[in-house]
Amino acid sequence: MEKIISGKNIAVNEEGYLTDFSQWNKEIGEALAKEANITLTPRHWEVLAYLQESHKNEIPLSIRKVGKSGVVDIKEFYELFPQGPLKTATKIAGIPKPVSCI
């Protein structure tokens, strides 16, 4: 399905996650963050860049992995994205929602 994000037609799945990362850019990220009631700071962008890099390198994401990344600890990750950090951050980053339960 498609959704208009930041004035463009973007391919997304039923949950609103981008299905084609090449359509992502910072404006799309900003618009998705706004939908999640998050104002992006430089810290948010650092974490988003790390998540995108992990996805590119096909590293499965979990809270534990993020916590051990050295980029952000679990507590801060929750402070940056309070309503379910991995779920929210991956959506803003334009990458798939992680399937791990841990």
Partner: protein, 160 residues
């Protein structure tokens, strides 16, 4: 139902057992709630207290007796060392799927905002003191006080 539209807002999990499979079930459910943006609190009562007891939490075992899913005869499950063998095997498998050990899991839960409560009555029964417990336990509570924390719409309680 009206206010939350049926959404789950808070999971109140009661852990009464200290076998590894039950402890992990409680922890995964609490962690899974937080990662969906749902609040979570765990109440440790009776043997469940061992999961937050500093000296015991590293030595929890899988139950090999009375557990048909282990697929070993009950008689064998009761032999000395069987629980240790089964536990070692299970820990090995869990490491493969990136599952943290009990202590690290508690660290993850508290960092994620999960509240951990020890049952007052069980603490008295086992003669445990607050100092015996994992440092980030939020406090010792009565059942009534735990229930009070579950007030509001969209709260669900689970007994493990």
């Amino acid at each position: 139902m009206s206010e939350t539209n049926g959404d789950i807002k808070k999971m109140m999990i009661i852990l009464s057992k200290a076998t590894l499979e039950n402890v992990y079930a409680a922890f995964i459910l609490a962690n899974g709630a937080r990662s969906e943006g749902i609040q979570a609190e765990v109440f440790f009562t009776f043997f469940g207290l061992e999961a937050i007891h500093k000296k015991k939490l590293e030595h929890l075992h899988v139950a090999t007796v009375g557990n048909p899913a282990m697929h070993i005869p009950t008689m064998l499950g009761g032999l000395p060392g069987m629980e240790a063998i089964a536990t070692t095997m299970m820990k090995h498998e869990m490491e493969k799927i990136d599952m943290p050990d009990v202590h690290e899991f508690l660290d993850i839960l508290t960092a994620s905002g999960v509240k951990l409560w020890a049952c007052q009555l069980a603490m008295e029964m086992f003669h445990y003191k607050k100092e015996d417990l994992y440092d980030d336990v939020d406090g010792v509570l009565t059942v009534g006080a735990f229930y009070n924390r579950g007030k509001g719409e969209g709260t669900h309680m689970l007994f493990i």
